[in-house]
Symmetry: C2
Subunit: 327 residues, 2 copies
Amino acid sequence: MKIVILGLGAVGKGILETIAEKKLGLIVTGVADSKSACIKEDGIDIRTVLTTKKETGICGNPSLTADDVIATASYDLLVEVTPTDANSGEPAYGYIKRALGRGAHVVTSNKGPVALYFNELQSLAQDKGVQIRYEATVAGAIPILHAMQHDLLGNTITALYGVLNGTCNYILTRMAEEGLSYKQALAEARELGYAEADPTYDVKGIDAGIKLVILANTVFGKNISLDDVEITGIDLLTDDALRLAEHQECTIRLIGEIVPKKDLFRISPRIIPKNHPLVVKGSLNAITISTDMAGELTFIGKGAGSIETASAILGDILYIRNEQCMD
Amino acid sequence: MKIVILGLGAVGKGILETIAEKKLGLIVTGVADSKSACIKEDGIDIRTVLTTKKETGICGNPSLTADDVIATASYDLLVEVTPTDANSGEPAYGYIKRALGRGAHVVTSNKGPVALYFNELQSLAQDKGVQIRYEATVAGAIPILHAMQHDLLGNTITALYGVLNGTCNYILTRMAEEGLSYKQALAEARELGYAEADPTYDVKGIDAGIKLVILANTVFGKNISLDDVEITGIDLLTDDALRLAEHQECTIRLIGEIVPKKDLFRISPRIIPKNHPLVVKGSLNAITISTDMAGELTFIGKGAGSIETASAILGDILYIRNEQCMD
């Protein structure tokens, strides 16, 4: 299977390294970063490209762009791992649309286009007889979309509850365990690289809300946008609220909820018993789903990180490849 | 897809009810219990068979047997949910072999034949170009085999740790939380139906050991038997040991471990921190896997129950059916 990769940050490089190391039988015919691109019909030399990128900061020819890769390379599948713009979804949205239009599968870690244009991209993929997969957009390394789409066939999923933002979870864990104030815990999260310089997206619950939109549209067949999600962040949470929860053997977590029958889509700080499976520590993510037959199932794992994201991307690529083989 | 079902206990009946209710597009051409069978080329009437079973104790014609169903019915897939005999694997082993021999897929909840004859059954299935699936044999409703086989492609699983026996977990939870002695907790588990009249298989770690064999052979490509698993049960555990663990913010759980590189296969009571994801309550099961890219992932869910087992069986049936459709 021939693939091209757009975006050579930590995730893109991790994918390339793994393909080279594990000999997965994937031929990379093109890569692009924000300043250059490299296209080779019979496969680029991954080691050379990675070295060039490391030494010069760019991966290939500065007169070539991601658009050239999409339009002229020969590939069965596009891997789109450029930075996310949650407002416009660009430039990822355009890349994905053009690749699907050429009849290529798409695997992306980009929440923007998936949350904003899910139905359009999904029906374009269907028209072209290809797949768009995006396991990496939700809950990092946890294969939650795979699990709900393929592993529980016959079950009806009646509700979903999840810790979908590792930054908030880290802050809440530290507030509860060390008695830190919100400001102190946020400062610590920034120092450790868990929170961005501008943590608004995380602490106001917007990042978790975007993931909830993706889950609702993908798994529950909804057609919602971020405006349909009732969102309360953790930025106004007081130390007192946490202490009160602790008093009752409970703690507070930022929980995303979907109850499809009630069209309930909510992100909010919730008081939950300390021994509940969703009470995970630090920057972990956790998702509990309620089903009619299998009961409650909980999935816990790392919610972020470049190698974890690369893992989710590879899982999608190889899943599509295996399905192709069976045709 | 045409299927036949051997075994009409709670699980078999649950599968039939779900097929009838959810209109899954499966045609049931034969069923058998221990005393009778019912075969119909164009599909049995599920409601009638369930009513007959309820009213008379048998599902069909007393002069027909499970063997007749296997040999003469028309089917693409055999569902084998007869009682387990962990020593001989019979009669399930014979049923499964003959169905595979006829070129039918097999889905089973029967630990005996899968633990005892994995390689033989697997290669017979391969020769015939069909599948044998057995998600229900391990960790109840948790789709752990699916997750490890299909959802994490590209990852190498380097270790597995699991709470694989709900009875032991219930006993240990009650000992820790209520200060019960082992004997008291066992008596309670029996009263509530979590433990068999003869709880030896559970409390001596044999049931968990059998599941570990299935995991090792399926997911890690090993060829081990129960003799290769180092097993210590919970029956000799003292209240003092638990109290000592509690003192250090820890507790004790019966943990199954696989470290494939070291050929380590062990079931033993282990002291683990109370806030570890594997410390689940009551009769739950939990499995943590370590991977090279996705890090640690934990799956938690109900380890037993007839509807939960039916869920795992249906997941396997529909997975095979979906793969067929793509061919």
